[in-house]
């Protein structure tokens, strides 16, 4: 397996810059290890899950539960950075991260990731309940081991499967509030799970990502760009279906339905235009359709999740 030959997270000091030539790692470097942008997505979706769940968690416990979910997400980010430090060194986009740049030793990142994983799971269990703690532990395991260590380097469906790890936070928030994970919580998981591939593939179609140099089997490389366009459209269809299902569920209502119709109408229109054109068309207009789909996907996720608590306040069906 080619991945094994490439992978060597502990070899950073040997190939990276000499440690004494570099500035001392500061709090910002450790903060970067936690992947704050991914953490913010987890915080937002977990908060929505917690707010729309029919629970009555004390506000302090709710706030600290969100904090521990964020710490857990950060822990999985640190473990991912530790394991991926070899490929981060190869790609331009990730070369300045704390480990490949030599500011943080791989062992430090591993220790931080393991410590934060343990403390976030235990503290979420003590703060909320052990079902939420279990799903947080599972999410960390899934992202760090199943995705980062195994599937990311072996299958072109890594984007789809990796998306599942990012999809769990709203369900963890729901479990923290109620101690249960009913259908509505799983619909929120499904929403992020099906949103991730078209969001990421739209980006991959207009940004020159150097995954190929790092030997990561991305769909654009393994199956071609035309197939990536087709898959983007198919996932947009599946996303619309599950999005409509949320509108008719216990967390839905007229406002959610109206929002969902607008969001998915635009998403499908943009995904269709991405599917129907060739790379030559795309180059000619500076990847206009792909950029529109990517930007709309950001609006889509934020607006879709934000509308649920508003609907709960107004009253559902």
């Amino acid at each position: 397996m080619a991945d094994i030959a490439l992978h060597s997270p502990l070899a950073g000091a040997a190939t990276g810059p000499v440690a004494h030539d570099l500035p001392e790692a500061g709090p910002r470097d450790y903060w970067q290890l936690l992947k704050p942008r991914l953490m913010s997505l987890s915080v937002f979706t977990a908060l929505i899950g917690l707010l729309v769940a029919p629970g009555d968690l004390h506000p302090f416990l709710a706030a600290t539960s969100i904090l521990w979910i964020a710490v857990g997400a950060g822990a999985s980010g640190a473990l991912n950075m530790w394991y991926d430090s070899d490929i981060d060194r190869v790609m331009k986009r990730t070369r300045s991260r704390p480990i490949p740049s030599g500011r943080v030793a791989p062992g430090e990142a591993l220790a931080l990731g393991l410590f934060l994983s343990g403390i976030s799971v235990v503290m979420l269990g003590l703060t909320a309940n052990w079902l939420a703690a279990f799903w947080l532990a599972f999410t960390i395991f899934f992202y760090a081991v199943i995705y980062s260590m195994w599937l990311k380097r072996t299958t072109s469906w890594n984007t789809v499967i990796g998306g599942l790890a990012g999809a769990f936070p709203p369900m963890i928030g729901w479990a923290a509030a109620t101690g249960t994970t009913p259908l509505e919580a799983w619909l929120l998981v499904g929403l992020i799970f099906l949103w991730t591939p078209p969001h990421f593939w739209a980006l991959a179609l207009f940004v020159k990502l150097d995954y190929h140099d790092a030997r990561i089997p991305m769909l654009t490389v393994t199956h071609g760009r035309a197939e990536t366009r087709r898959q983007t459209w198919l996932y947009a269809l599946a996303l619309a279906a599950i999005s409509l299902a949320t509108a008719f569920s216990a967390i839905g209502g007229p406002l959610v339905l109206a929002t969902v119709l607008v969001l998915n109408g635009m998403f499908l229109a943009y995904a269709w235009s991405v599917y129907r054109r060739s790379d030559a068309d795309s180059e000619a207009d500076g990847h206009g359709a792909e950029k529109r789909l990517f930007k709309w996907s950001l609006v889509y996720l934020f607006a879709h999740f934000a509308v649920f608590p508003v609907q709960i306040l107004l009253g559902g069906w």
Partner: protein, 61 residues
């Protein structure tokens, strides 16, 4: 006069960051304890005397 070690100067930012995190953790655990006690249900500790609440109620009583 005690001379500050060069490493302590270099790692000042990191050490203050860690201090802030540890203080925040103490505040969170304290707050968690207070809230759990305030919102907790009836708690009865073992105090070496018989506790009628533990004795099952017999039929007809």
């Amino acid at each position: 006069m005690r001379v500050e070690h060069e490493m302590h100067i270099r790692r000042r930012g990191r050490n203050f960051g860690l201090l802030a995190v540890l203080l925040a953790f103490i505040v969170i655990v304290f707050g968690l304890t207070v809230v759990k006690i305030q919102t907790g249900g009836f708690a009865e500790a073992f105090d070496h005397v018989s506790r009628p609440a533990l004795v099952p109620v017999e039929a007809g009583q």
